[in-house]
Amino acid sequence: MTEATPYGDLTVVELAGDPAGEALGKLLATMGADVIKVELPEGAPGRHIGPAAAGARDGDPDASLHFWFYNVAKRSMVLDYRTADGMERLRGLLRRADIVITGWRPAEWADLGISPAGLRDGAPGLIVINLSPFGLDGPWADMVSSDLVGLALGGPLNSCGYDDHAIPPIRPGGDQGYQLTASFGHLGILLALIERQRTGRGELIDVAMHDCLSVSAELANPYWFYPRVLVHRQTCRHAQPTPTQPAVFATADDRYVYFALITTERKPWQSLVEWMESLGLAVDLTDSRYDDPGFRQANFAHIQQLVEVFFLLQRADDIYREGQRRGLPVGVLNAPEDLPHDEHLTARNFFVPVDDDAPGGPHLYPGAPIRFSALAVPPLTRAPRLGEHTADILRELT
């Protein structure tokens, strides 16, 4: 018996061309939905963003790793929905679909001559979800954005950067503004699917990257809601109302570990001192005066210096493993190339081989971060070539 997948019964049409909409389609596709990426003849914008797979010819729309990352497990259909005939075909597609993902500002909808609600004509059960920079209404609805601009206006960027405030706030990597928007979109779709199960009715869902980011800076809003203070960015640790000690430490092998030194609690303090003593590096920290949390707090800077030296004399992986063995929440700052060899991830078969179009394959791709006992996660398949499934899908429509 083939096990069911979470979305094995769903058909999704993806019209969105930016990473927010594409990441949402990917969340659905990797959990089993049939996601049909509808592309204009020139292909989705992401196909023309680098880097390209090694050895690809210039301008090959099928070789963008950017496109591959956001479009695994989907099918591609070329359809020029700007023409009357193309729009007719699109409507045929939508009548059979459960979900359509769009990504347009109000002015772009107007240019296309359609409306989000209008997509549901003749398809009352269809869930229409539009992910756009500022949403479908409001004074900023037609402003333009990007991941960087979104993170700036939405607030998270204000918390990220370095202790030195002559350096501007620094955007965290990985298109996080877009990907966070996709997560909220995913939750919206799930709620709409559950509601539809009871009512049979679809939904129009309007998600703005700006709204999503404005509620996603963790402590920044609560600090304003309650004590009405602002947090200030610090190097690779929480933005806080007032400065705190560094939490990223350099190691002997020129890497970094994250460790927030907390001296107030007895147990982690003892674990740390025992660990330092085991390498003969506790210096005066074994002195009984340090049994008093007040004394530790008063000598925090001295302790911090000793910990800096302690870490600088060891390799990052050793610090990570030994610290964790002793119950301390130490993290190693892995680079992406460290991950495919990580023994824990390997034991969980997290990375999965995907037979993509690049030479030397199959290549390892990140696998599903969600596992179910009763539901299967389908095997991961490569991103589609431009129009790879056009003929198949047209055949399915007739």
Partner: protein
């Protein structure tokens, strides 16, 4: 039972109405995951331990008090005045159970039997120590959804490692890929992964609830925050596994610049005022031309080093310096308005005060809302930023006081008799 009748639970509205959740989650990541369920109608019953107060109750984000860093806890503070807890636990019910005693564990089993979803984010092994394996839960409730979230997942050699947001961000690579080249990573100034891992977990629970609606079958769920983080690394992950790129070195990460596509200017530039900034992103010649027009075509915009996307990208040091001469003389909002009116992607770096007090778009969209709290008073909340045409969040009550719903949940929902309830209270089981 409730002195203020507005705090009395009643029928809920939304797609999850009728779903009862026995919620063992705590800390930020766990509480955010189940908050969405409570917002959309689920009866989420948060189970707390009076002797081990949930951290967000203790972090000193207090209304009408001075600023304290979140590490500066106040010994003996009222657990009901914690603002962060209120923020995370709105719309939930709150009960207390001491799980270290058999009577407590028996009571928890009764609650589980009367629920259809059980959630937890303890270190692996804690639920097992209480006998609450998936097998046991299925005996109590055959179609149970048992959602388990942890840093490393429930198998593998590092399953017992300790983690929280910053550790997850470090180990998954998200910290490393963020920063200026040639110096320590700037990483994250927040627990981004407390949000994203929570959302992946909420999604997994909703997938399981939907599957049960379709088939009648429950499931156990294992969500790893670190594996979620790796999924969010972006295309650089495939550059590494497909192209064999080594990112460790003096040229990566790229700070606010983009490697792909080669967009420039693409950065965060100083505006007038102390620590005020404006982000600008120009992706192609058309946008560059609009940008140059908008700022009045100063002479440097005609510099041949800035004539094509590629040459602008190659000469970013000079370009950024020139752009900063323009931005630094302007208010961040004035620069934003001027550039946006020309169709250039630009935006002020906004802080929480800006978002809450002046941002016209968020005000129009109603992203933030207020509810009263018996100890804290009127408080502001971050709404779910998803607008539906046919439904909305059911924001009925602020966060529960410690044990506020003991009587309602244990007596009314579970049928605990008055004398037994009194005994459980007196003996500290609840």
């Amino acid at each position: 039972m409730y002195l203020d009748e507005r705090r009395q639970p009643g029928p809920r509205r939304g797609p999850l109405a009728g779903v009862r959740v026995a919620d063992f989650c705590w800390m930020g990541v766990g509480s955010v995951a189940t908050r969405l369920l409570a917002d959309f109608g689920a009866e989420v019953i948060k189970i707390e331990d009076r002797t081990r107060i949930d951290t967000p109750r203790k972090l000193p984000l207090y209304k009408n008090e001075d600023a304290r860093n979140f590490g500066e806890e106040v010994v003996g503070a009222d657990p009901d005045k914690g603002g962060l807890f209120n923020n995370y636990c709105r719309n939930k019910l709150g009960v207390t159970i001491n799980m270290r005693v058999p009577e407590g564990r028996r009571l928890a089993e009764r609650l589980i039997a009367a629920s259809s979803v059980v959630t937890e984010n303890f270190a692996p092994g804690v639920m097992e120590r209480w006998g609450l394996t998936y097998e046991r839960l299925r005996e109590l409730r055959p179609d149970v959804v048992y959602a388990r979230m942890s840093g490393y997942g429930h198998s593998g050699p590092n399953a017992s490692y300790r983690s929280y947001g910053p550790v997850v961000q470090a180990v998954s690579g998200l910290s490393f890929i963020s920063g200026l080249p040639g110096r320590e990573p700037s990483g994250w100034g927040l627990s981004h992964m407390d949000n994203q891992a929570a959302f992946y977990n909420s999604a997994a629970i909703l997938m399981a609830i939907r599957h049960r609606m379709l088939t009648g079958e429950g499931t156990e769920i294992d969500v790893s925050a670190i594996e979620t983080g790796i999924n969010l690394l972006g295309p650089v992950m495939l550059e590494v596994t497909v192209n064999g790129r080594v990112t460790r070195g003096p040229r990566y990460p790229a700070g606010n610049r983009l490697e792909h596509p080669p967009a420039a200017p693409h950065g965060v530039y100083p505006a007038s005022g102390e620590d005020r900034w404006v982000a600008i992103a120009v992706f192609n010649d058309e946008e560059w031309s609009r940008f140059a027009d908008a700022i009045g075509r100063p002479a440097w915009t005609a510099d041949e080093r800035f004539a094509s996307p590629q040459s602008r990208w190659e000469n970013q040091d000079a370009l950024d310096e020139a752009v900063a001469t323009w931005t630094s003389q302007r208010d961040r909002y004035e620069a934003t308005k001027l550039l946006q009116e020309a169709g250039v992607r630009a935006g002020a770096v906004q802080n929480a005060q800006d978002l809450n007090e002046t941002d016209p778009q968020l005000a129009h969209r109603g992203v933030f809302f207020q509810m009263d709290h018996p100890v804290i008073g009127e408080a502001r909340f971050e709404g779910v930023p998803v607008h539906f045409d046919g439904m909305s969040a059911d924001n009925w009550r602020s966060g529960p006081l410690l044990g506020e719903d003991n009587e309602y949940v244990f007596k009314e929902l579970l049928g605990v008799a008055d004398d037994e309830f009194a005994k459980l209270t007196a003996s500290g089981v609840i």
